[in-house]
């Protein structure tokens, strides 16, 4: 089981992004250049090249290996080099340096339906696409019925695919790909398409592949999908491997890197006096904010979606006052307010006069936010008046969790809505 099937050693890929490159793409420009300075080629060529061309290392000394049966997620922002690795692995482009050793048959799915021809029927496209993905004719014949059943398009098998709905098209395309049955499967963003049920079906197929100790290399921006399937994550940044390890920490590492360096406000004990974001007119009455998880341990800036949290706010009142309330509001990084927790909403809140040092304890049983980063504002109210405010006092990174217990949860929007559904056909309704 601990046999390496993919070994990547010191892989580098250089692209030349010549600033003169684009305009030379055309015969006219070549001729034009030759006419303008016919003797240019006599001059030192190297010098010329250096001046016009800029090197760009899409991958820089990347090394990792993948063992049989592992499902590895490649994570990274745009331009991190994920696609370049996949392209090299699928042999579409050659590396500039380094080497890759692959053991076993590999198949790459950089896109579903590659090579589908709109004029051809579903049946014809199954054969064509199968051949393109590397299946032999015999193999396709053998798996044909299975592919058709998986794609659920039996009725339209002899219709040109240009008349298919996009859903049918994708289903057929994925069905062919899913039956490749290679030892190493290289997948890029394939799951970003199709409806949820079909996505689940595809994920099931991938898990099946894993169960048969197939190796999967998976690239996706969909972190929840990565977290759901991958046993390991490799984080790339600017063409280098910056993290290689279990999926969860890998995703965390990636999310952290999105924020740049972790600001001090991610700590668990936050000195609210130190904030310069406080409006000048307010004397610093809010002193410290402490964040804990639901069991009372320091939060550490992370929270899985739907989990609860606790907070304590320490306030030093300037003068005795009645009707004092503290609040914590959650905002998106764009500054949109998502929700607010306030002691003013508490039924039996303390309306007696308070003075000196006061501690507000807040408990949020569940914070069903969509995975992402949120900032916290802390405010103090006396009566209806805002007495103190610290903006962006702390940040919480909410990570994806299986909130609904179904393996799927939205990655968009802001909060996770509790919802129930019943599905019935019109016939069922009549019977009922």
């Amino acid at each position: 089981m601990d046999h390496s099937v993919i070994t990547v050693e010191n892989l580098s890929k250089r692209y030349i992004i010549g600033h003169q490159r684009a305009p030379t793409d055309g015969v006219r420009h070549v001729i034009e250049a030759a006419v303008r300075s016919p003797f240019r080629w006599l001059r030192s060529r190297n010098q010329e090249k250096k001046a016009q061309r800029e090197e760009f290392w899409a991958l820089n000394d990347v090394s990792f290996d993948v063992k049989r049966g592992e499902v590895v997620g490649l994570i990274g922002g745009n331009g991190a080099g994920k696609s370049t690795i996949l392209k090299i692995l699928s042999r579409i482009t050659e590396p500039t340096k380094g080497r890759i050793q692959l053991e076993g048959r590999s198949a790459s799915l950089l896109e579903v339906g590659t090579g589908f021809h709109p004029e051809l029927t579903g049946r014809e496209n199954i054969f064509l696409n199968g051949a393109i993905l590397g299946m032999s004719k015999e193999e396709i014949k053998r798996k044909f019925d299975e592919i058709v059943a998986f794609s659920e398009i039996e009725k339209f098998l002899d219709t040109p695919v240009k008349r298919y709905s996009s859903g049918m098209y994708v289903r057929l395309a994925f069905a062919v790909a899913a039956h490749l049955d290679p030892d190493i499967l290289i997948v890029d963003e394939v799951l970003a398409v199709g409806d949820v049920t079909f996505q689940k079906k595809c994920l099931g197929k991938m898990q099946e592949a894993q169960a048969r100790s197939r190796t999967v290399l998976f690239v996706s921006h969909n972190l929840s999908a990565v977290e759901a399937f991958c046993t390991r994550g490799i984080v790339l940044s600017k063409g280098r491997v910056v993290f290689d390890g279990p999926t969860k920490p890998a995703i965390q590492h990636y999310l952290d890197s999105l924020r740049g360096t972790r600001p001090p406000s991610y700590g668990d004990v936050i000195d609210l006096c130190a904030f310069g974001s406080r409006p000048d007119r307010y004397p610093p009455q809010l002193r410290t904010l402490r964040l804990y998880d639901e069991t009372g341990r320091p939060l550490g800036g992370n929270l899985s979606a739907g989990a609860g949290m606790k907070a304590t706010i320490h306030v030093e009142l300037e003068q005795p006052a009645a009707n004092v309330n503290a609040e914590i509001s959650f905002l998106t990084l764009d500054g949109d307010r998502v929700c607010t927790a306030s002691s003013a909403y508490e039924k039996c809140r303390d309306e007696s006069r308070l003075s000196g040092s006061v501690v507000f304890r807040c408990e949020i049983p569940s914070l069903p936010l969509v995975a992402g980063d949120y900032k916290l504002n802390v405010g103090l109210y006396i009566g209806q008046t805002e007495a103190d405010l610290v903006e962006d006092a702390a940040r919480v990174a909410v990570s994806w969790s299986d909130y609904y217990g179904t393996g799927v949860a939205p990655m968009h929007g802001v909060f996770l809505l509790n919802n129930r559904w019943a599905v019935a056909t019109a016939a069922d309704m009549v019977l009922a």
Binding site: D25, I92, E94, G104, H117, F127, P160
Partner: protein, 273 residues
């Protein structure tokens, strides 16, 4: 266990082995292009027959009747067909071959395979078209009750020559087209000019002055068409050997340099297409 090493320059090593391994994809691409060619047309493959038939009529009327070009005792339609069939094969093969990589850009940028498969399979498609069109020659020969000479058995040789010439030029164009889309405009122009400087609709030995004959024969298709006429018309048409030599020379040169250049640039296709 299947093993694969990816290294800079590695693809070069087992290029021909890979080409063999991907032969099935080659069949499938040719099969796809054949299927697609006449999809959603009313008369389908009959177009491969109709197109040369109509062209033959027009050329016969214009060159044989209006211009009254000499025919050396051969029915003019037969003479025209012997020039037009190889020319149409050559020009369509050339155009298809040149466009093939760009048309298949989604494949080129998403899947690995020896890229040589794409232009090669597109020429095959033109060859199949040519085979269908060639049946019109048989019909016309029957109509005129014209018995071709025994030279006809050499015909496949000249079809092969036309194939190789088209593939050679096509490879260059396909490779250039990936970077310089200008060729999309250059190719139809080349084909149009080529039609006049190639003995498609006339007997060049009767028309071209003796002293320019060698210059005229520098066009590789002159040898091919000369060969076609020699095969079909037999005794009355003598093979012009210098033209043959030039054509074979051209073809060998175009194919070898074409493959060389194609292989040199194909590694970058996915990046620039």
């Amino acid at each position: 266990m299947h093993q694969l090493t990816i290294e800079p320059g590695r693809a070069e090593h087992h290029y021909w082995k890979d080409l063999w391994k991907y032969r099935e994809l080659f069949y499938f691409l040719a099969w796809r292009d054949l299927l697609v060619r006449y999809k959603q047309t009313l008369v389908g493959i009959a177009w491969a027959f109709l197109r040369p038939a109509l062209t033959m009529m027009v050329l016969t009327v214009v060159f044989g009747k209006f211009a009254k070009l000499p025919a050396a005792g051969v029915p003019y339609p037969i003479l025209v067909l012997c020039g037009m069939l190889p020319w149409q094969f050559f020009s369509t093969a050339l155009a298809e071959c040149g466009n093939s990589l760009v048309h298949n850009s989604s494949l080129v940028s998403k899947i690995y395979f020896p890229r040589l498969i794409v232009p090669a399979s597109s020429v095959i498609v033109s060859l199949v078209d040519f085979m269908v069109s060639a049946s019109i020659l048989a019909l016309v020969l029957l109509w005129y009750q014209y018995l071709p000479s025994a030279h006809i058995f050499f015909l496949p040789l000249f079809v092969g020559l036309a194939f190789a010439a088209a593939f050679g030029v096509g490879l260059w164009i396909a490779a250039f087209m990936v970077r310089y889309r200008d060729f999309r405009l250059i190719v139809p122009f080349m084909v149009q000019i080529g039609f006049y400087i190639t003995p498609v609709a006339y007997l060049y030995r009767e028309v071209v002055p003796e002293k320019f004959l060698l210059l005229y024969a520098l066009n590789p298709m002159v040898g091919v068409i000369d060969g076609f006429r020699w095969c079909v018309l037999g005794g009355q048409h003598v093979l012009y050997w210098p033209a043959q030599a030039i054509t074979v020379g051209w073809t060998v040169l175009l194919i070898t340099t074409g493959i060389w250049y194609f292989r040199r640039v194909e590694r970058t296709f996915a990046d620039v297409i």
